[in-house]
């Protein structure tokens, strides 16, 4: 009987830590190499901190969209769709300048997971700085338990979400000091300590978490109505709430 082994890879990229957890009897070393190269490429292309990235050069008017990698156009189109789905609370221009970061990281993680799927993996998890894409076969009992870090009590978990194919993204104002901007005001959102969205595809799930964070007190009602997604929030006073169905996407 072949036993699944846990294969892990940890890399630093995009200013945070990415970790891969692949559970399979088959070796995925070379696929993980490809996935890491993919993340590096995304950082090089989309970083708002590198003056030579496509995004920075596009924002500066040095190049046109046609000069950029095709993925840049794909991301910008997806940002527009997500902006429409979130009443403008998600925006690639939340702070004025072009910055699609709220979509890019989750999308990059989702694609890294897709690389593993394409290579035959059915049971793995990719975590990029606290945004998570999990893949598993529920028939085989391959479920993932994702803890939600408590933003007001570091080291403690506020909740747990369980599922086989699962995307979990958390956006917060507590630890990073109001890094999520409300596109309608251009100012930092402050209504929630953190909000977590669970879905199946991390790109849009991550963007929805960013939007929900910007919405503040309106996030709960909005998430309740959002098809295919579940929400969990922590108010600034530590009060927690969840949409119906939370925990079992």
């Amino acid at each position: 009987m072949t036993t699944a082994i846990r294969q892990r890879r940890v890399v630093e990229c995009m200013g945070t830590v990415f970790s891969f957890d692949v559970r399979s009897p088959q070796k995925y070393e070379s696929v993980l190499d490809d996935a890491v190269r993919w993340l590096d490429w995304v950082d090089t292309t989309f970083s708002t901190y590198r003056s030579t990235s496509d995004i920075r050069r596009l924002a500066a008017g040095e190049v046109t969209l046609e000069d950029c990698a095709p993925e840049v156009g794909e991301i910008l189109r997806t940002c527009e769709l997500l902006s429409a789905k979130t009443a403008g609370y998600f925006s690639a221009y939340a702070g004025g300048a072009l910055d699609p970061s709220g979509l890019v990281k989750g999308w990059a993680i989702e694609r890294a997971s897709d690389l593993l799927v394409a290579a035959g993996s059915t049971y793995h998890c990719v975590n990029g700085g606290g945004d998570v894409q999990c893949v598993g076969d529920p028939q085989a009992g391959q479920v993932w338990r994702v803890g939600i870090a408590h933003p007001l009590h570091l080291g403690k978990l506020a909740s747990v979400v369980v599922g086989s194919r699962l995307a979990v993204a958390t956006s917060g104002t507590a630890e990073r000091g109001g890094h999520v901007l409300d596109p309608h005001t251009g100012k930092p959102a402050h209504g929630l300590a953190s909000v977590t969205v669970a879905g199946t595809c991390l790109g849009r799930t991550d963007a929805f978490a960013t939007a929900a964070c910007a919405m503040g007190s309106q996030a709960r009602d909005w998430l309740e109505e959002l098809p295919g997604h579940y929400g969990f929030g922590i108010d600034n006073d530590g009060t927690t709430w969840a949409t119906s169905g939370w925990g079992l996407p």
Partner: protein, 168 residues
Amino acid sequence: MKRVLLSITGTVLGVVALLSFKSHGPTVGTLGVLPPANVPTSSSSTTPRPGDSGTAAPPRPGSRSPATTSSTANGSATSKIAGDAVETPYGVVQVQITVSGKKIRNVSLLQLTAFDGRSQEINSQAAPILVQETLAAQSANIDTVSGASYTTAGYIQSLQSALNKAGI
């Protein structure tokens, strides 16, 4: 089965899993704060501001050796291995692990500098929890953690580098 458990200990998911929701008894970590002069810095922001020290122990001078080895009563060698000092937007995190064989016996914080009051709180409360939960990682019933936590990422990164140095 044992092999799997060892592999959990030596990998970051095991480390991430340490952020479990289980409650724990007394903390075991020794909490110390070293001067930031120890740390390769790329910006002035790594210098703690006056009045923000929040230390639980007095600063210790100088850099420490990366690994020291002693013997335990049962004869197996015990090593102390320092992880990398990891700079985060909220402070500098550096851990030291104590290992015997392939098992983590203890985790202590060599550095946890604070830039603000929130990090001060981390110094006094949360860091010992992280340490405690690292030691409980093997039994934690969590696969991974979602959250927006740079300091935690720094902790994990430093711990992972120490695990790599220890070869576990």
